[in-house]
Structures are given as C-alpha cells and as structure tokens.
C-alpha cells in the first residue's frame, strides 16, 4: 500500500507546483524551472501571474482540468494550509512541502505541522516535508527541488538535512558520483525513513539506500522496517551527533531529540543497517553494491605502485578485512609475465611499467584464485610514456567479463583529472571506482559486512 502511494513522488504522471514563480529570487522559480522538462505534465500555480516561465499558470490547483498526482508546495508559510486543502479537494496523491517554519519552529510550529498532517490524512495525501529541499529521481528525470540535477546512479540517498543533502548533491556532481533518487525528508511530518526504506526496497533503480540521520522519532518502526529491508537491500546510515559535543549541537538544531549514539549504534547493528563514519564513507559504501557479494573477507590487491597498495592494505585491515594468501600457482603464473622487480605476493605490485594487458592478465589470475573473495585494483598515474588513459581500466573490465565468476571487483584510480576517463569507463561497466584508499576499503567492508549478514540469515 505504502509502496503504491509513494510512486507518485517519483514517477508522477502530472505535477502541480504551488508557488511556481517568475521571480528568480524565489525558490518557486527554481523548482518550476527544474521541473519544466519533466516528461509528465507540469502545471504552475500562481495566484497573480498568467504564465510562469512561459507556461500557462493556474490560480488554484483545483482549476487544473486534468488529474494531478503530485503537488510541490513552495508558497509562503501562511498559505501552506490552504494550499494543502486545495490539493486534497483536487484529489492529489502526494505533496512535497518545501516551505519551512513548522515543526522546527517551537510549539506553535509543531501545532501547525500537526494540522497539516490532519488535513493530509483527511484527504488521503502523503506528505514529504515540510522544511525540505524536495525530491529527485534521476531515472524518471524528475527534479522536484530547487537545486541542480544530481548525476544518475544506483544509490537512493535520503537526507534529514536539506542543506547538507544539497551540499552532498553538489559534491557528487563534482566527483562524478550518481544517485538513483535524492529525497530531502525535512521534518518528516508524515513520510519518514521507515516508509522510504520500505518503498526503496522495491525500487529496481536503487541498489542501496544511504541515509543521513539527525534523529529518529519512532525507533521501533525504523528498526522493524530496516530489519526487513536490509535482508534484501543494503541500508547504510550516517548519524550526526556521535560525540557529546556533537549531540549537543544536534539538540539545538532540529525538532527531533538526539538520542545517545550508543543506542543508535545498537539499533543500526541490530537491524542490519551498516554504519558510516563520514559522508564519503556513506557514499563509498553505498556505491559498492553494483557489484556481486563476496563469499568471504579475503581481498587481493593489484597495483602499479607499492605505496598505494600498502595504504589500501592498512585501511582494509582497519576495517577487519584480510589480505588473501594467493595460491602458489597464481604467483607462479604472475611471475611468468610480470617483470622481475614486481611483487607477486598479495598486494601484487605490477610496478609502474604495467600496461593494460598486464592489468587484464593479473586481474584474471587473481579472480580465478580460489583463495580470493574480492579484488581491489589500483592504478596510480596511468600516463607513463605511451600509455593510454584508459588501457588499465579496459584491462580490468575485460578480465571481469571473461572470468565472470561473481566475485566483486573495486577500483582505486588515484590521479585526479588524469584518471577521470578511466573511472568513467569502469563506472560504465558497473565497477565502482574510487579515488582514496580509505574509500575503496569502506566499499570492500560494506560488501563483506552485508554478505556476512545475508549468509547468516
């Protein structure tokens, strides 16, 4: 039931923007601009204007001649209640209330927020927000927010902080990381983390669910749903307010109470939610799940420089993963084509002269080694004399396709712009490509931890 209802937030046939504006200084301007190219119908609602950004405007959502699935409400706060009632009368299914000034604003705001929920219940509307940035679906090409389009990807990202969510979207644009959906949940007056997890569990475009959490109101409901969902789809959470000083900051921020972190940590572990330590950790872990799950924790590393191999081994160790003991045969066969200076013990250091063909052969041998559960491929500065920027990535991708034995492969390409094309190529092949040893290690940890839990179940 929930599942069906929430579809209207991501793939609505028609959208009304209440508060769509011609004034570029207003949020309603950006929201409508972002939605204009959506493939469904999008109606601007503005009480004063005839047209908004060249599109015929309606004075009231009720005046729209056709059905409306989703309403985005960006009107000034004093009009929100009426706007929601109008939506109810129109038969709107879902409403994203961007407008702020409710539950986060003390007792009076809380009361007004409860009124909104009562109206919604009366008309059978589900609400996301209020006090949020909105909702994006990169697969349906819907951007019902006032921020830039996120890149397309396979991680569903749910953020309790609108501003931080937006900051992360902008960060991922720069870092070439994609999302399937971005949902800024705001005050969670109605739709909350649990509802979204339940919905996203069934969403084929989302391979994993990343949550940024400041405070959970209904802990039992969260756990119940998370326990169920985490059996089929990974959930990764970053909780703000770990430290006492952090928690202190949280209590002065949103309406929600900041529980002691030990309790959150317990709840996460118990319900199969993987815990991230930082924003990059959250993203790195979530991005890993385009890969199959490993059978164990034994990782093989291949690299064209010793240092990054060791740094990565350090980070894997920190997260409880093991370096695989390669079979004698594997090492012998590596020795056959790698130069004498290369190290054929794990981490396999093919040294700087390694070409795409060496990456291909090495990856193939390591994937075929029964002692290896997972492969981390590292390339630092692939532009040695005469090398193409993508040959190493191509070698890896070719090996993965040929071996095709369902072992996860992760990549660490460490040279900024220089390795951008290679990372793009890998991502296109579904191989998550990272830029930092700690990130690829977090990804490996996430795969192993989720697999461990799922094998246990």
């Amino acid at each position: 039931m929930i599942v069906k209802m929430l579809d209207y937030f991501f793939t609505p046939k028609s959208i009304a923007v209440l508060g769509a504006s011609n004034d570029p200084l207003k949020l309603g301007y950006e929201v409508f601009k972002n939605l204009k190219d959506y493939e469904g119908k999008v109606y601007p609602i503005n009480i004063k204007e005839e047209t908004v950004q060249g599109v015929k405007a309606y004075k009231n959502v009720k005046n729209i001649p056709e059905d409306v699935d989703l309403a985005v409400i960006v009107v000034p706060k004093r009009f929100v209640k009426q706007a929601l009632m109008d939506c109810g009368e129109k038969g709107v299914k879902g409403a994203i209330i961007i407008t702020a000034g409710f539950g986060e604003m003390g007792e009076e705001g809380k009361r007004e927020e409860r009124e909104l929920v009562e109206i919604a219940q009366k008309y059978g509307i589900r609400i996301i927000g209020p006090n949020c940035v909105g909702v994006m679906d990169t697969h349906s090409n819907m951007n019902a927010t006032f921020i830039m389009n996120a890149k397309k990807g396979s991680v569903a990202f749910v953020s309790q902080s609108g501003a931080l969510g937006a900051g992360i979207v902008y960060k991922t644009i720069k870092e070439d990381i994609g999302f399937s959906k971005f949902i800024s949940v705001g005050n969670m007056a109605d739709v909350d983390f649990a509802d979204l997890m339940e919905y996203l569990a069934e969403d084929n475009n989302s391979k994993s669910i990343a949550l940024y959490i400041e405070g959970i109101k209904n802990g039992k409901k969260f756990m119940e749903i998370a326990k169920k969902v985490s059996k089929k789809k990974p959930i990764i959470a970053l909780k703000a307010g770990k430290s006492e000083s952090g928690a202190r900051a949280a209590s002065s921020h949103t309406g929600s109470l900041a529980g002691s972190y030990a309790i959150y940590d317990a709840a996460f572990r118990q319900s199969g939610v993987l815990v991230a330590e930082t924003i990059d950790d959250l993203l790195s872990m979530a991005r890993a799940f385009t890969q199959p799950l490993p059978k164990g924790k034994k990782v093989a590393i291949m690299t064209n420089a010793g240092g990054p191999g060791v740094l990565t081994a350090d980070q894997l160790d920190k997260r409880g993963l093991k370096l695989a003991d390669l079979k004698e045969e594997t090492m012998e066969r590596l020795r056959e084509f790698l130069p004498p200076m290369a190290a054929v013990k794990n981490p396999v250091d093919m040294i700087a002269s390694a070409r795409g063909e060496d990456y291909y052969k090495t990856a193939k041998l390591l994937l075929e080694d029964e002692n290896v559960d997972m492969l981390v491929t590292i390339c630092v500065v692939p532009t040695f004399a005469g090398m193409t920027p993508t040959e190493h990535a191509e070698g890896i991708a070719r090996a993965v396709k040929e071996v095709n034995n369902r072992k996860p492969v992760l990549a660490l390409f460490m040279a900024g712009y220089v390795s951008e094309k290679a990372r793009e190529l890998l991502e296109k092949e579904g191989i998550p490509a990272y830029e930092r040893p700690e990130d690829v290690a977090s990804a490996a940890y996430a795969l192993a931890a989720f697999a461990e839990r799922n094998l246990e179940v």
Binding site: N218, K220, G259, A267, Q270, E456
Partner: protein
Amino acid sequence: MKEEALKIIKEVLTQGRKALVEYEAKQVLKAYDLPLPEEKLAKNLDEAIKYANEIGYPVVMKLMSPQILHKSDAKVVMLKIKNDEELKQKWEEIHENARKYKPDAEILGVLIAPMLKPGREIIIGVTEDPQFGHALMFGLGGIFVEILKDVTFRIIPIEEKDAWAMIKSIKGYPILAGARGEAPADMKAIVDMMLKVSQLIDDLKDYIKEMDLNPIFVYPEGEGAVIVDARIILK
C-alpha cells in the same frame, strides 16, 4: 512468569516506591527463571539462624530496607559469617549500622545468602531510550566497565544472535573466551540470561525503567552463572 513479577512490582508501587530492594528485584528475576543464589529473607534472628543452617555456613547477610539502596555505604552487608554465634553478633551490628545510617529506615528483613564461589564478573543492564525504547546493556565487570566503558547495547527485544554478537563485540571478550589460560566461561548461560532479561523487560516495559544486574558471576562452561546483586527502578 509475568503475573508473579507483576505482583511484586504492584506491591512496591502500592507502597509509593520506585526502587525495588535487592530481595524484591531478585523475586522479579526469579519469576523469569534467572539464575540466583539460594537466598532467604529472615524477618527475625531465629529465622536467620534457621536459614543460615539450611544454606550452610559461611553465609552473607544483607539488610533490606527501601530507604537503604546503597548497602555498602551503610555497612549493612556482612560477609563470611562462620557460625550461629557470629551471626547473632552481626545481626545486632547490621541493625545498628542501619539505624546509624538512616534512623527511620523501614527494615524488611535480612537476606541470608551463601558465600559464592567467585567467577568472571559481568554486568547486564537495562536503560530506556526515548526513541527506541528499552535497551539491554552487556559488559564485563570491574575495570572493563569502570575504566574502559567497554559495554555494548541492543534494543529489546533481542534475538539469540544479537546476544552472541554482543558478547563477541566487547574488547574484553578474550577474558570470557579464556585467553589467560582458564577454561572458557559459560557463554550459553550468559546468552540465556540476556534472552530472559529481554523477555522480562518486553513483558514489563510499562513498569520498569532501569535495571542493573551487577555483578553476575559466570563460571566455566557448563557450570552456569549467578546474579549476585540486582537493582530495578520502576517508572
């Protein structure tokens, strides 16, 4: 199980109290079949002597009073009592200490308990969180909890695998596993206690706010465990 426990709790509430004395707390635990020493509440000296002989010397005496919850501070715990004579003498002393500490303390009786064989010390506790409800705490006793804060939580109710995960997640786990050359501790007994406490709290969550089972002595594999002291605070 629930009914018996509830009876004790309601009795305490009727008296306008929120904190159960050790004896009452242990009665609640007993209703859920948690491992307790063979203890008896003596209302007078004759009963005390009778119980001490039934249990067998040496025994421990603990004075039970709703006004004296910190028994060590009040010096109302007497250890290693060897015979009837010493018991008589300590009976006087314990009551005098109680009077000195809290002149108007209501005295429910004196708990006569056996001297327990020491074991590895653990703590099981319960606290209530506004968002997630009651949470179970587990840790090793002594410096592990006091200095290193080496404890772990799970939300109640817990499953058996949660209990095992808790035991294995603490830093002091090697102590239980027997890293110092001893036999491994009776982990099954620990898991059993955790599951029973989880059940107890799940049944009585509307009444109980906090609980401390501290210390619990855990013996080598197959030899079980015993809850030495217990506190329960009601809502």
